[in-house]
Symmetry: C2
Subunit: 384 residues, 2 copies
Amino acid sequence: MREVAIIGIGQTPVDEHWDKSLRELATDAILQALGDAQRDRVDGIFVGNMMSGILSRQENLGTLIADWAGLRGVEAFKVEAACGSGAAAVHLGVMAIASGYMDSVIVMGAEKMTETSMAETTAALATAADADFEGDHGVSFVSLNALIMQRYLYEHKWKHTDFAQFSINAHENAMGNPNARLQDRISVAEYRTARMICDPINLLDASPTGDGAAALILVPLEGLRSNGQPRIVIAGSTAATDSIAIHDRKDGLWLSAAYTSARKAYGQAGIQPEDVDLFELHDAFSIMASLSLEACGFAERGQGPRLALDGEIGSAGRIPIATRGGLKARGHPVGATGVYQIAEIVQQLRGESGKNQIPDARVGMAQNIGGSGSNIVTHILKSV
Amino acid sequence: MREVAIIGIGQTPVDEHWDKSLRELATDAILQALGDAQRDRVDGIFVGNMMSGILSRQENLGTLIADWAGLRGVEAFKVEAACGSGAAAVHLGVMAIASGYMDSVIVMGAEKMTETSMAETTAALATAADADFEGDHGVSFVSLNALIMQRYLYEHKWKHTDFAQFSINAHENAMGNPNARLQDRISVAEYRTARMICDPINLLDASPTGDGAAALILVPLEGLRSNGQPRIVIAGSTAATDSIAIHDRKDGLWLSAAYTSARKAYGQAGIQPEDVDLFELHDAFSIMASLSLEACGFAERGQGPRLALDGEIGSAGRIPIATRGGLKARGHPVGATGVYQIAEIVQQLRGESGKNQIPDARVGMAQNIGGSGSNIVTHILKSV
């Protein structure tokens, strides 16, 4: 199995890009990444995207993006795993390089969510749930997460306010990230009084959607020169699933797919949770940040909010999370999110994160969640 | 790079399955394939599907199918490359095994097309074209293929009737395939007088859509015992793209992505076109059968119909095609088609094709086309 390195990254700002179509956003990210890697051609492209068929009436998206970005002829595929589509595309690209079938690939995510009405977008997002047994009952993604959070508050005896630091930390970090959608500081008072969306989830528990695209260039590590920069390797690349519907889980407060994929990733990378210098987790809702920290071994069960309250998730804490704003403040263009997470870790490992820089970061972990925890992809990056 | 073997296949009949949902069809194919392989667990599943988001309001399809088929926990992804989605899923599964990341996978395709109105299904199929520059002008997939066929008739001076043998051969072969949608013999007279769909394409030039699912079990060849059956290896697995829009091609009558992916596949397998014992090609429309034969080296440019007229595409001919009915008569549940093609080749190499058996078949080739030739995946199978 060949080791895989990341030699280029590209990210568009996450925003309402009314002047750019999906293909244009994707091309912007690709050209940035190719420029960063000083390459002009790859063997294949893997595009993570969830909703282009529904929201843009465009399938065959891999082909379209390859064509539009000037890469006509290369192998091209769209990969879908709901909101985990981006990291899923990275994972499949890693296997393409590791197998020897390809010597260079673009792995990317792209999503266009703001050209349609909020109702259409919300309905499209609900296709990540079980259409027959959840979607048909009118469930939305906020409501599924609200069910989980409500139960968590009851079981583990936290108050809603105890989750404030997840959002405050994310917003604080986003102010150092020019690609972030929400670059404003928020207070505990603002968190407590934010508009209710779906009890107990309020506006400041939820990540904003948006349009965006991010891309990485992968090549085999072997033979790669460092050129003065640290070489970044993908030391762990894994995925796992759970039941698609939350009512089918024995325990709705345990992300078993996060646990399984993280444990596999630690094994591949030969590390323990305490070796991780930063963790880009899937804080689509604040409850998900807590559950991820628990499933991945950074907090005991039911104790995720404790880490946040103790300041351990900040840049000087035990496990810095959402270091460039996370989903909560960088934004969550769903199929692209998993690739933003990894691009942000590359910036940390390169020491290019400005005021968000985690000192001496050598190991970063990213976890991207599809559905209500049903499809979870974990990556561990190291600088070598 | 590990060599990859196919040890199990499953196929549902292609039909209007009004009593079965997408997940049920997929599960039927998976259970058949697992039974055939005498396995009950795999490391991952790759689901080729084009339109579940639009037609069934269901994304996160890999997770759903893994869950429903009793494989909760395994890695699961949906792969989309328009009508080439099925073979694309196979290709990515091959890389997963070859890389060493997985030791067993299900690669499959599933599509449900008959629960929605013809207008909805036709519009969904058009998402394989360029939404902004083709789809928005009202183009459908029949009309794109009609443009190509019209030009072909003009350039190469064939009459429409000269294509009759492609459809007659496919229908003849489907009568030996219990999974085929159209199991009836047709005559030249019926072909000539069939209802016009989009000039010059008539009803008997076009493949029927349908609901269906097909699955394969892949494992490393190394250590695999033959158990009295020939071992079937994937000796070539490749893809290539062209412009998504046909107006962007220098030559609309040349499938450059078919040429490129076939040439790469011949190279991987160490064979020439004359070594291929049967060719499951993408005869979604009769013109596509002709163009594939030409691009893959079985006919000179413009001479595809000659092969058909000379009887060379039949089971005793130089290059048997559509040996179990092809898209034209087995049917074309789009995201599943590429997997049916490969399952049918496995049956031929195992000698399990009944009255359709190609004597002493040792090498089979499958080619699955997404869009109007924009994304083409080629596989070569050998018995060893």
